[in-house]
Amino acid sequence: MSIRLCLLRGFLFLFVFFPMSINGQTDGNEIKYSYQCEAQLPGQVLDDLTTKYKISFAYNPLIFEKRSPVQCKINTSSELEFIKELAVVLEVNIEGIEGQYVITNISYTDRSFEFSGFVKDANTGEDLIGATIKNVKGNSGVFSNEFGFFSLSLAGGKQLLEVSYIGYQKQRITLDLKQDVRKTILLSSELVRLPSIIVKPQSRNIIDEEGLEKLELSPSFLNGLPEFGGQSGLVKGLQSLVGIKTHSDASAFYFVRGGQRDHNLIIIDDTPIYNPSHLAGIYSIVLPDFSKSIDIYKDDTPTYVGDRLASIVTIRTKDGNLNKAIVSASLNPLLNRISIEIPTVKNKSALFLSYRRSNYQWLLSRGPADNSIFFQDFHFKWNYQFNPENKLFVTIIQSEDRVQINNFSNADLVWRNAASSIRYNHVFNSKVFSNVTFNTSNYRYTLGLGQNLWQSELSSISLKNKISHYHTNALRSYYGGEIHAFFNAPGKLSNTSGGSAFPEIDDDNSRKLAAFYQTVYSKERLKLKAGLRYVFWANAGPNIYYTFDSNFEVADTIQTEQGIYNYYNRLDPRISIEYAFNETSKIKLAYGRYHQYLQLLLNSVSPFTALEIWLPSGPNIEPQSADQYSASFMHHVPKANIHFVSSVYYKRMDNQIDFKDHAITFLNPLIEGELRFGKARAYGFECSLDKRVGSLQGGLNYTYSRVFRSFPDINEGKAFRAFQDRPHDFSAAIQYQAAERLFLSSYFTFQTGSPFSSPIGYFPLNGLQVPIYGEKHNDRLPNYRRFDFSAKLILNKDPMAAFQHSLTFSIYNALGQLNPYAIKFNKVADEDSAIQVPSNMLETQALSPTQVSLIRFYPSISYKFQFSKS
């Protein structure tokens, strides 16, 4: 370049730039930079600006060689702002250097962008929970949360992503990232012949698995288990998982890692259900067809989930089909259900309705006169997606059970659940997701005896906000808070005839304030989780409560005014560390502290609920606590698609509650004086082998576990085996697609019999033979064994037909095994072999030991159909 040219450029720079700049500084409002173009090549844009405003640009023309025409409309009052906006339009860097604007290409690769959005079922629009979204080359990935939301940080430029979810076709996505991207990913399900079978197995990388965090009970697997009376029950399904023990046949109770019956909580769409059973446990109010995911936390429980010592089962219900209307029904001689899914606004809003009703009367009419069993439940779910950032869900669940026993007691038992939740999801930005939930739950239990009506009720309302914050691909955190109010009426008795006065049991009101924080750091083979849950639990007046002395006699009566009269503060730390040795094996160590503030006081060991009394922690009942240590190992065999998981645990429980011997629990205002407090210890080993893909699926589980309780005033202070101390527990669930339209399922379980106290002697009293016991739980019931079987035949030949129907034949306890849940020593048998307690105390008729069992060889047949219309 000649000196003259340089001087000329320099002169032009001084003359053009500085005067303009000076003009801008001295009188910026008057100078206006305005440029507008439609489909103009970038080079031409720059030439126009040079002509119009005498702005000098320096650049390599190759930058714009393959660029598309741009569209722009820029109006600014200053040159600097104008240049900034111009850079955005042209997607280049522009820097002022020595009187010129130097233009260079933007390098996206050294910048990071957020790729976020939702993963959904392409057919139904349902959010997919736990889908894997990963960067194929970088090997970083995340899981979609319980609402299908994900957030992944990626370097700018071209990226190749893979999205996968079991039962769905993998999808690869190519992105050219120059800014944050929000996207809804639609996955198509695998071609299926039957709902619960995946024809094409997928290879799985164990690092991508969340398998050690929780147990998952797939609703389709649950549906595939042999039915009892037309339905696969949730509790029966839970018992097919490792480490979850049954109480006995037809019981809603289950035990997890040494916990008591009330140490488990079932949450449906963030709403607690206090009694999920129908018909004393034979069925549950949870519909497999209504459920999207069923997760069980036995340890390493997230701090945002809840307050129970043993397990929390969180169930997410389906949102309803966003694309087509579906009517389905199940018809069975004992139980019938109808469900409807309809999109109320296509691709935005859907409705799910289900009603189920029992039909036992024709069966009971053959038995003792006037006995009656009936239950029904209703499910409602509605959701509306306002826009990609905002979604609203409403869930309502109602259930009712009624049992009338008229042959000798004239008792009428009724229990009802009513639960509802309103949830609002909001995406603040690509990294922050919020779920706000308002829920109510009511459980009412009523016993009618002639003109007397006894009622116990527990209600709660709560508001909770949980924030999911995806800081980076390696680091995410969850935090938030919740407030609960509990309204507890432990027992009221009314008499319609206005007869004798009954003792009053005061209502209890409690409040819970919780704050939680949890962070998850996962990098390559290491995953670290740490969290803290803080709970403030308070008892609110007005109320009357009693204090007791060391002999459990009433020491004082306290009448409280409105406001808080007692409170507890508790901190629950949780920590776990997980390390993957390679793509097929990983290990996890976990520690957690847990508290429980609501307890079910049951002085009954029968399989059925018995006048449920829920009591909150208060002046006489400290919160129960547990410390659990666990270690787990998982190994995946890719070729066979088999998972092996084994765990060992030790759990120490304090402030455990039991009743004194022969406690008076009914209508007793001094019931807290009947309670005794102690400790429990549990330890065990669990292992499972699972195969969840392919035409043959199933799982084998084995658990060895022990539980011991000790109370100063029970069993003379010596430790004794707990009721749920059943050392050996084995189960096998096998599901097999025998033919294109034939699906076979079987389930076998074996458990050591429960401990019970058998007499070591007797003494007479007024003609009775009163048992004498030695050590508590000195004996065991016979071992429990059961084999169930079912066969399902798809009746329509075309699996994609709009109308689909099937026939399922099941046999519960196909081998007819008698599994006694009690052994008694107080009955006589008369000439007709009726087994009864004696009444004539003068007769020297011999008492006979008897055993009581419940269900033996129970066949059922169900017809199911589904009709869908787009």
Binding site: N603, H662, F666, Y762, V770, P771, K827
Partner: protein, 250 residues
């Protein structure tokens, strides 16, 4: 298939050896009638035998002095040689070899006799005793003993029925198992005795019923020993007022 199935089983008694004494002494203050005390060995087997102990030295002290218990071979029990005189508190002493058992009891009052409902049984010549007052009365604890003789001259008894009234409700009591019906033929004579029961004695009887006649329905409590008030022995020593009546079934 759905309803609970109960069946008899063969049970092997516990190998644990137990050596215990049972003393049942329900003493009443009705001066017209005698008092009976049972002392026997406990049994390791269901259905006994509950061997009576015939060489115990039994004394009851009331406000007026000591009353000895005399063993009766026929009944296998002890009868007090005289009736209890007007006392509020009495004391029991039982000595068997080198073992000494003592207890004290305060008199429990009794409310008037309730009307006992008798129901005929269809077209038969028998009746049935309906449950007395459904077993719950917040104002009292009481025990009814109905001694039935079917045929004149009513020298021997054919049946004894016990009914209990408690001022508390127990879940086992509400949903108790089926019981044999009390079938009494026409022409029978029923001697009705009503005993007042103290709170502690009611607790003892209720616990015993939880372990026996109230046990075995769909709801039942955890098993536990029944605690009496005689240190070192099973059984109970009680003292109460007693009312008595006699009816004929015609």
């Amino acid at each position: 298939m759905l309803i609970a199935c109960e069946e008899r089983i063969i049970w092997t008694d516990s190998p644990t050896q137990i050596d215990g004494i049972n003393i049942q002494a329900q003493i009443h203050a009705n001066s017209h009638y005698g008092n009976q005390i049972f002392v026997n060995q406990v049994s390791e087997s269901l259905n006994g035998p509950f061997e009576p102990i015939s060489d115990a030295v039994i004394s009851v002290w009331d406000a007026f002095g000591e009353i000895e218990g005399i063993y009766n071979e026929t009944t296998g029990s002890y009868f007090l040689e005289s009736n209890i005189m007007d006392s509020d508190t009495i004391t029991l002493s039982v000595r068997i070899d080198d073992q000494q058992f003592e207890s004290q009891a305060i008199k429990a009052t009794v409310r008037p006799l309730e009307t006992i409902r008798i129901d005929t049984i269809g077209n038969t010549d028998s009746v049935r005793i309906a449950r007395l007052d459904d077993g719950f009365d917040p104002q009292q604890n009481a025990m009814y003993k109905l001694s039935v003789a079917y045929d004149a001259p009513f020298d021997s008894l054919d049946a004894i029925y016990y009914y209990y009234i408690f001022n508390t409700l127990d879940i086992n009591q509400i949903l108790r198992p089926p019981q044999e019906p009390s079938i009494i033929p026409f022409g029978s004579r029923i001697v009705i005795e009503k005993y007042g029961i103290s709170e502690n004695h009611a607790n003892y009887l209720r616990s015993a019923l939880v372990e026996t006649n109230w046990n075995g329905n769909i709801f039942y409590s955890a098993n536990a020993n029944v605690e009496g008030n005689i240190d070192g022995a099973f059984g109970y020593f009680s003292y109460s007022e007693m009312l008595r009546d006699t009816i004929l079934i015609e």
